[in-house]
C-alpha cells in the first residue's frame, strides 16, 4: 500500500430539490463514496455561476461536478435547461484552453436516485484521481 495516496479534491454543487436530496438518500441507504467529495448546496443548478467553478479550480479543486434535477423535472421549471447550455459552453471553453475535460461534469440526479448519486461520485472521483492534481487551472500561490 502506498502511504501518500493521492486524494483529489472534488467540489459538488447540488440543487436543493433533487440532487442534494439524492445525496441525502445515498446517505440514508449508506451507499459509500469517497470523502473527497464536498457538497455545496444551491437552490437550483442554475444558481451555479461559472465563476464559482473557476474559483474552485483556482483554489485547488481537482474536479467540479454540478448535479441538478433531470431536464423537465426542475423544481423551478427551467433552471436546469439554462444550466445545460451554460455548462456546455463553459466546459467546451475549458477544453479549448487545454483543461482536461474529465475534471468537469454535469449529472442529473433525482431525489430518488441515491444509488446514482453514489455511483456518479465514485466514477467521477476515480476519473479525476486518474488525472492527478489539477495544475492547469490552479493558482499555485493560493495553495498552502
Amino acid at each position: 500500500m502506498q502511504v501518500n495516496e493521492y486524494k483529489p479534491l472534488i467540489v459538488a454543487f447540488c440543487c436543493n430539490w433533487c440532487s442534494y436530496a439524492g445525496a441525502d438518500l445515498a446517505g440514508n441507504n449508506r451507499l459509500a463514496y469517497p470523502a473527497d467529495v464536498k457538497i455545496i448546496r444551491v437552490p437550483c443548478s442554475c444558481r451555479v455561476n461559472p465563476m464559482f467553478i473557476l474559483r474552485a479550480f483556482q483554489r485547488g479543486a481537482d474536479g467540479v461536478i454540478i448535479c441538478g434535477c433531470h431536464p423537465g423535472d426542475c423544481h423551478y421549471t427551467s433552471g436546469n435547461y439554462y444550466t445545460r447550455r451554460r455548462m456546455a459552453a463553459l466546459f467546451s471553453m475549458l477544453d479549448f484552453l487545454g483543461i482536461e475535460r474529465e475534471r468537469t461534469r454535469v449529472e442529473w440526479v433525482s431525489a430518488a436516485e441515491g444509488a446514482k448519486f453514489a455511483a456518479t461520485m465514485n466514477d467521477f472521483v476515480e476519473k479525476v484521481t486518474a488525472l492527478g492534481e489539477n495544475k492547469r487551472l490552479e493558482d499555485l500561490r493560493c495553495k498552502k
Binding site: 479534491l9 467540489v11 436543493n16 430539490w17 433533487c18 442534494y20 436530496a21 445525496a23 441525502d24 445515498a26 446517505g27 440514508n28 449508506r30 451507499l31 459509500a32 463514496y33 469517497p34 470523502a35 464536498k38 457538497i39 455545496i40 448546496r41 444551491v42 437552490p43 437550483c44 442554475c46 444558481r47 451555479v48 455561476n49 461559472p50 465563476m51 464559482f52 474559483r55 474552485a56 483554489r59 485547488g60 479543486a61 434535477c69 423537465g72 423535472d73 426542475c74 423544481h75 423551478y76 421549471t77 427551467s78 433552471g79 439554462y82 451554460r86 433525482s110 431525489a111 430518488a112 453514489a118 498552502k144
Partner: protein, 664 residues
C-alpha cells in the same frame, strides 16, 4: 464580524460512529468568527436546543452553525431554536455531516477530516449571512382536485366539509374511477358500488364542489396559494345543465357497436352513452369518433328523441381559467398492457383475462350480468387459474413489466378465488403465487379463509406457459414446494396485471413542476414524514398516483391530503421564502437578461433617476424583483453580467466563501 457558535451533534452513534465529534468541535473553534464550539449527543432534542439557546445568550452569538443531519431534516428545527433565542432564523447554517459524511464514509479519519471541512464551509457562509425577513402572499381559498376516483372524491368531500370550495377535474365523462368498476372489496367483501355511489352523490349534491367531467388540466401557472389553472372542458355535444340523464337517446342511437370502455371492451355501447347507471354527472356524452351526425352530418336521431333539447352538435371545447390556492393530484392507476406477455396467451385467447376484466365479469352490472361465464363461448368455467405478479417485480422486462410490487394483487386475487368458490363450489380454483403478501388489517385472515374454508388451491410457483388448445387452456407450471410439474387444463385464466400510474400523470407533473420517480409515480416531499405532499409547495398527492394502494389506504391518504389542503387554505396569508433575488440598482445595467431567464415573470424594469458624483442626474433603467413572485432559483444571478443580481441566503460571496473554505 459575526459571533458564531458551533454545535456538533453526535446523533447518537450515527455521526459519532464515523466522525470524531470532539475533534470537529475543537477544530472549528479557531475558525474566524467562532467564539463558542461544543458537541452534544442529540442537538435536535429539547436539551440540545436549550444548549443552543443558552449559548446564544451567554456568548452573544449572532450566528449559529449546527453540524448535524441534512438541513432537509432539521434546518427548520434549528431555525426555530434560533428564533426562540432572539436571533434571526436565517442566521443558522447546517453542515450536513450525517447523510453526506458519516453515513457514506467508513473511515473515522477521513470522515472527521471531511466533517471539519464541511463545518468550516458552514462557518464561512454564516459569517456572511444577513438577517432575512420573509415576504407574504395571499391565499386563494379554493382547491383543485385532479382526478375523480375514490381518492379525488374523498379529498374533495373532506375539503368541502371544512367549508372551502373545491373543483374536481375528471377526464372521463363520470367520476368514480376504478372503484366504480369493482364488484366487491377486500377484506370485508362489501360491494364497491354500495359504498362508492353514495359518495358520488354527495359530491354531486355538495354546493361547495364543482365537477368538471370530461375535462383536463392544460396549463398551470403560479405558485402555492396562487395557482392559475386552465381547464379544458371537452365538448360532449350534450348540454350538461339541461340533460336529465333519461337515457332515451342512448336507447335510440343506431351506432350500437362501440367497444364499451367501462366494461373494458367486453361488450358494446352506443355512440351516445352514459358510462353506467349511477354515473355522476348523469349526463349523456357523444363519442365524436363514432357518431354519424358529427362525422358526416347524417342521423341526428338523439336530438330528435331528446325532449329536454340537450343535444348540441355544435358544441366546442371550452377553456376555463380559475385560481386555486392548492392542487391535489389524484390521477390514479391503470393495469399495464398484457399484449407483450406472449407466454400467457392474453392476445391469443379471449379466456385469458385480467383481474379488472374479471371484476366486470362478476359484477351484476357487467357484460354477463354478474354470471361468471367464459368470454369466448359464454359457458360456465370449471377450472380457473389465477396467476399473480404478472408484470410486477419484473426487473429484466422493463419494456413490458414493472420492477415494483403492485401491492393490491395478492388480496384481490384471494378475493376473486374465494368469491368464485363461494358462488360456484363446483369450480376448481388454482392461484399461482411467488409470495403471498398480506400485511393489512384482517388481510392474512382473509387469505387463510380462502385456503382453509373455501378450498382455493394455492401453488407456490409462477406459471411458465399457457397454450390455448381447443376449448381448453393448457397451463404449465411448476409446484416448487412439491418439486413437480403441473399441467392443468383450465377453462379460464385470470392474470393479476401489474398496475402503473395513469399516462396523463407525466405531462401533468411537468405542468405542476412536481417531481416523479422513474416509474412515473409522484414523489412525496418526504417518504415518511410528508407522504401526501409533493416537494412542490401547494401540490398534494392522493391515492395511487403516489404508489400502488388499496382502497382503505387510498381513502386515508385522501383524507390526509385534504387536511393538508385545509391547513393551507385556512391561512389568510402565506409567509414566503425570504431567499429571493434582489438587484443592486447602483450597478444594474437594465439589460433584460435576468427577465429573459426568470420562469416566474418576477422581474420588471423601471426608469430611475440617479444623482451622479458630479451632481448631475441620470435616468437609468433598472431591474426590480417582486419578492412575492420570486421563488429563489437564482437563474437571474448567473445571467447578470454586472453581478447586480444576487440571491439572498445563497449570495455570490457566500457560495464563494464555501468554495474557498472547502478548497483551502
Amino acid at each position: 464580524m459575526q459571533r458564531v457558535g458551533v454545535f456538533v451533534c453526535w446523533c447518537g452513534s450515527n455521526i459519532a460512529g464515523t466522525v470524531d465529534v470532539k475533534a470537529v468541535a475543537e477544530a472549528l473553534k479557531s475558525e474566524p468568527g467562532v467564539v463558542f464550539s461544543t458537541d452534544y449527543q442529540y442537538m435536535c432534542s429539547q436539551a440540545g436546543q436549550d444548549m443552543i439557546k443558552n449559548a446564544v445568550k451567554e456568548h452573544n452569538l449572532t450566528g449559529i452553525v449546527v453540524c448535524s443531519c441534512s438541513p432537509r431534516m432539521h434546518e427548520a428545527t434549528f431555525r426555530k431554536t434560533a428564533a426562540a433565542a432572539g436571533l434571526n432564523p436565517y442566521m443558522v447554517e447546517i453542515a450536513n455531516i450525517r447523510e453526506q459524511c458519516s453515513w457514506v464514509h467508513k473511515d473515522m479519519l477521513s470522515g472527521t477530516e471531511k466533517a471539519i471541512i464541511l463545518g468550516k464551509a458552514a462557518v464561512a457562509k454564516v459569517n456572511l449571512n444577513a438577517p432575512l425577513t420573509p415576504g407574504e402572499s395571499p391565499v386563494t381559498k379554493r382547491a383543485l382536485v385532479i382526478g375523480g376516483g375514490i381518492a379525488g372524491i374523498q379529498t374533495a368531500l373532506d375539503i368541502a366539509d371544512a367549508g372551502f370550495p373545491v373543483d374536481i377535474v375528471e377526464k372521463k365523462p363520470t367520476i368514480g374511477g376504478k372503484m366504480a368498476q369493482l364488484d366487491k372489496t377486500f377484506p370485508t367483501l362489501d360491494c364497491a358500488a354500495c359504498i362508492l355511489t353514495p359518495k358520488m352523490v354527495d359530491v354531486a349534491q355538495n354546493d361547495k364542489i364543482r365537477i368538471f367531467s370530461y375535462s383536463e388540466v392544460t396549463d398551470v401557472q403560479g405558485f402555492v396559494g396562487n395557482f392559475d389553472v386552465t381547464i379544458k372542458k371537452n365538448a360532449r355535444y350534450v348540454k350538461e345543465d339541461i340533460c336529465t340523464g333519461c337515457g332515451a337517446c342512448v336507447d335510440k342511437c343506431p351506432m350500437k357497436r362501440i367497444p364499451n370502455e367501462f366494461n373494458l371492451g367486453m361488450d358494446n355501447r352506443p355512440a351516445i352513452y352514459i358510462p353506467f347507471a349511477q354515473a355522476v354527472p348523469k349526463v349523456a356524452t357523444i363519442d365524436p369518433n363514432a357518431c354519424n351526425m358529427l362525422k358526416n352530418g347524417k342521423c341526428g336521431l338523439c336530438a330528435k328523441v331528446c325532449t329536454a333539447g340537450a343535444i348540441d352538435y355544435t358544441q366546442k371545447d371550452e377553456y376555463i381559467e380559475e385560481k386555486y390556492g392548492a392542487i391535489v393530484v389524484a390521477t390514479g392507476f391503470n393495469p399495464i398492457s398484457m399484449d407483450k406477455f406472449d407466454e400467457f396467451a392474453y392476445s391469443q385467447s379471449k379466456d385469458v383475462i385480467t383481474s379488472l376484466e374479471f371484476e366486470r365479469l362478476t359484477n351484476a352490472a357487467g357484460p354477463s350480468a354478474g354470471k361468471l361465464l367464459r368470454p369466448s363461448d359464454g359457458e360456465h368455467p370449471h377450472t380457473i387459474v389465477f396467476v399473480q405478479c404478472v408484470g410486477s417485480r419484473c426487473e429484466s422486462c422493463a419494456e413490458k413489466g414493472k420492477e415494483y410490487c403492485s401491492k393490491i394483487c395478492c388480496m384481490y386475487t384471494a378475493k376473486h378465488a374465494m368469491l368464485t368458490r363461494d358462488k360456484y363450489p363446483d369450480t376448481e380454483v388454482y392461484v399461482f403465487y411467488i409470495d403471498v403478501r398480506t400485511p393489512g388489517k384482517n388481510f392474512d385472515e382473509f387469505y387463510r379463509r380462502a385456503v382453509e374454508e373455501y378450498g382455493v388451491k394455492y401453488v407456490k410457483g409462477m406459471v411458465g406457459k399457457i397454450t390455448p388448445e381447443g376449448k381448453k387452456l393448457k397451463v404449465q407450471a411448476s409446484d416448487l414446494l412439491a418439486n413437480k410439474q403441473l399441467h392443468i387444463d383450465a377453462d379460464l385464466v385470470v392474470l393479476a396485471a401489474a398496475i402503473e400510474p395513469d399516462k396523463s400523470a407525466r405531462p401533468l407533473a411537468t405542468m405542476l413542476t412536481a417531481s416523479m420517480d422513474t416509474n412515473d409515480f409522484f414523489t412525496e416531499a418526504h417518504p415518511k414524514l410528508r407522504p401526501v405532499e409533493s416537494p412542490t409547495a401547494g401540490v398534494f398527492l392522493s391515492g395511487a398516483c403516489q404508489g400502488p394502494k388499496d382502497i382503505p389506504e387510498t381513502v386515508s391518504q385522501a383524507g390526509a391530503a385534504a387536511s393538508k389542503v385545509i391547513g393551507l387554505l385556512a391561512k389568510d396569508k402565506l409567509t414566503g421564502n425570504p431567499c429571493v433575488a434582489g438587484s443592486n440598482e447602483l450597478i444594474c445595467n437594465g439589460c433584460s437578461s435576468c427577465a429573459n431567464v426568470c420562469p416566474y415573470g418576477a422581474i420588471s424594469y423601471e426608469d430611475k433617476e440617479f444623482r451622479m458624483p458630479d451632481r448631475t442626474t441620470k435616468v437609468r433603467r433598472i431591474a426590480v424583483v417582486n419578492p412575492a413572485v420570486c421563488q429563489g432559483c437564482g437563474a437571474c444571478t448567473v445571467t447578470c453580467p454586472s453581478g447586480a443580481m444576487d440571491l439572498k441566503g445563497f449570495a455570490n460571496l457566500q457560495i464563494m466563501a464555501e468554495v474557498d473554505a472547502i478548497c483551502k
